[in-house]
Every structure is written in structure tokens, then in C-alpha cells.
Symmetry: C2
Subunit: 188 residues, 2 copies
């Protein structure tokens, strides 16, 4: 499998009305996505927010779990949170992985009209993840109502929306990330 | 597909040391599991806790989202939380689905030594969910460090543990539920 990383973007994302906003970092997102990433072999989980105070807060929480008393108490949480990296922008995440020509950016979107044609299905995505391309695959998740169209369009590929049964597909980002990683990496 | 329901058990569950405890209800579990259940066509999501004050709290939160101002503001959350039913025990959930002879209970466990042989794989579980058995399938998730052995042993079947890559599989229950439902119901 190619090197795999994930990113959770808090800006620029859409709000309910379609406006571009910065969402607040949710503590449980950091925990859940790091545990899912660690379970499925991702090497890095980038939490991206332009708000310096929120980056500082996340770093403090990470220190508590990776070096504080909780690191001894629940070492499996330490193992997960050690792969978290806090950065101001998605570009900074890409730079940390070696720069734009070393990274293939895959975006996720629940909306089908997201402005970039999706890969045909997860079978194709799995095959691409196991191909010979030397670039790292960075799978990008949006908070709030999702990534802004410009960010979707700038990606190299878009994963298909996750469909359940019927038209309802309002999964939490914690659930969507877990399902996406299981579909890409999990046993079949 | 057979009728599908899920339950999240807060007692009796194991703590880190293996003792039997009652865990606290986590607000985000109620939201995330209801959204995943609704996405994958489950008809009911039972939140089971013996603590009356916690049941009252969950009912208050549900009222806020299904009848309060938030029901107008975010109607997709209302659609999800409408399937939540708050009950004191797993037996009460089974009774609400018609009683023990109307329900096939499937437990989940991350531990491989969980005291009941698991179904061979999710392909077998998918086939069983689509079989002709008239009973409702109730998939049971544990909080904290998982369901106590007696509860696992009393079930009709156990789903295989979710394996990622390597030995780390400390998923949150929010992630595990999402992946389980996707493996059982999601498009293949």
C-alpha cells in the first residue's frame, strides 16, 4: 500500500447556508480520527485550523495524552494521538508530506454535485491506493457542511460519496472517516 | 433485508481493569450512532442505561432536536434522532422489538477472545441479514471496554472483530458502529 495520511479541514469549509467559514475544532474528532487512522495504517493525521489559539489547545490536549498522566493510564490513546500533527492550512499539511509533487490529494464529499468527478467506486480507489505511484495519498475530510468547491476542484481525485440505503446520508465526520478508511484499507 | 435495529449498552460493560461498571451516556454517541443507523436503514437505536437521570437527560436532548428550535434549524438531525429509544436494559430493548423470540441478538466485540465464536466474516453476516428469518436483527454495541462476557454469551451470534492493518484496533464506538453498519448494509 502507498503511504496514506488524512487531514481534517476546519477552513475553508461551508456552513449550512453555503457561506465559507472556519469551524471550531472538536476534541472528539481529534480522538476518533486518530484512532481510526492508526487502526488503518495511516502515518499522519493533520488537524488543520488557521486559528492559532485552537492549534495551541489541540497541542495541549495532545501533550496530555502523549506525555502526561493519561499516556500511562491509556497507552492505546497515546499510540493513536502520536500521529496527529497540527497545522494552519491544508497546504502546510501537503508541505509536511514533501510538497505538492510528492502528494496525491483525495477529497471526500457527501454531496454528489461537488464540482469534481468522483472515482467510479471504492474498488477503483483501493486499486489506486495499492498502485505503483510513489506519491503519498492524503485523504481530506471537511468539517461543518463540507469542503468549499475550490478546495474540491484543486484535488487530484474525489472519493465517491458514502451511500447507505435511501437518500439520507448525513453521517458525522467521525463516522464518514471510519467508513472511508475501512473501504480503502479494510479486509475484503 | 430483515428489520435491523441497534443498541448501545452502558451497563453491564467492562472497565479498563475488567470490572463490571455502568458507563456514562456520551451525547455525541447518541448523535453519531443515530445518524449512522438512519443512513443504513436501521429502524431503531436503543440507548440503554439503568440510570434514570441519564435517561431523562437523553430524552431532554432528544426533545430539543426533534421538537425544539433545532428541529427546524437542522431537520436532518431530527430525522436521525427520531429513531432513538431510551430504555433501562437490553432486555427492555428486546421487549420493545416484540420479545426474545422475535429478535436475533448479534453482539460486537473488539476482543477476539470474547467467549463466543464469531461469524466467519462479514460476507456471512450480510447473507444472514438478507436471509428469510422473520426475526429482527438487533446489533449490540458496548461502551467503555466492551460488553461483559455473560452478555456476549447470551447472544445468538457475534460479529467478527473489525481488523485494520496491524494489531491496533482501538476504534471509538462511534467509528466501530459506522464501519459495522457499512459492512453489513453498505453497497458492495
Amino acid at each position: 500500500m502507498r503511504r496514506l495520511a488524512i487531514a481534517l479541514v476546519h477552513h475553508p469549509v461551508l456552513d449550512r447556508s453555503g457561506a465559507t467559514v472556519t469551524s471550531a475544532v472538536t476534541n472528539m474528532d481529534v480522538h476518533d480520527l486518530s484512532r481510526s487512522a492508526r487502526t488503518y495504517g495511516a502515518t499522519d493525521f493533520f488537524v488543520t485550523t488557521p486559528i492559532e489559539a485552537q492549534r495551541t489547545l489541540v497541542e495541549t490536549i495532545l501533550g496530555h495524552w502523549t506525555h502526561g498522566s493519561s499516556a500511562q493510564r491509556i497507552p492505546t490513546r497515546k499510540d493513536a494521538l502520536e500521529i496527529v500533527r497540527v497545522v494552519p492550512t491544508l497546504d502546510a499539511a501537503i508541505a509536511a508530506l514533501g510538497g505538492r509533487d510528492q502528494v496525491e490529494v483525495w477529497v471526500t464529499a457527501a454531496r454528489t454535485e461537488a464540482g469534481k468527478e468522483a472515482l467510479p467506486d471504492y474498488t477503483a480507489a483501493r486499486a489506486r491506493l495499492r498502485g505503483g505511484d510513489p506519491r503519498t495519498v492524503l485523504v481530506v475530510f471537511g468539517t461543518s457542511w463540507g469542503l468549499v468547491p475550490a478546495l474540491v476542484e484543486s484535488a487530484d481525485a474525489r472519493l465517491p460519496p458514502i451511500q447507505g440505503v435511501g437518500s439520507y446520508n448525513h453521517l458525522s465526520v467521525r463516522a464518514a472517516c471510519a467508513i472511508t478508511l475501512d473501504r480503502l484499507v479494510g479486509e475484503r
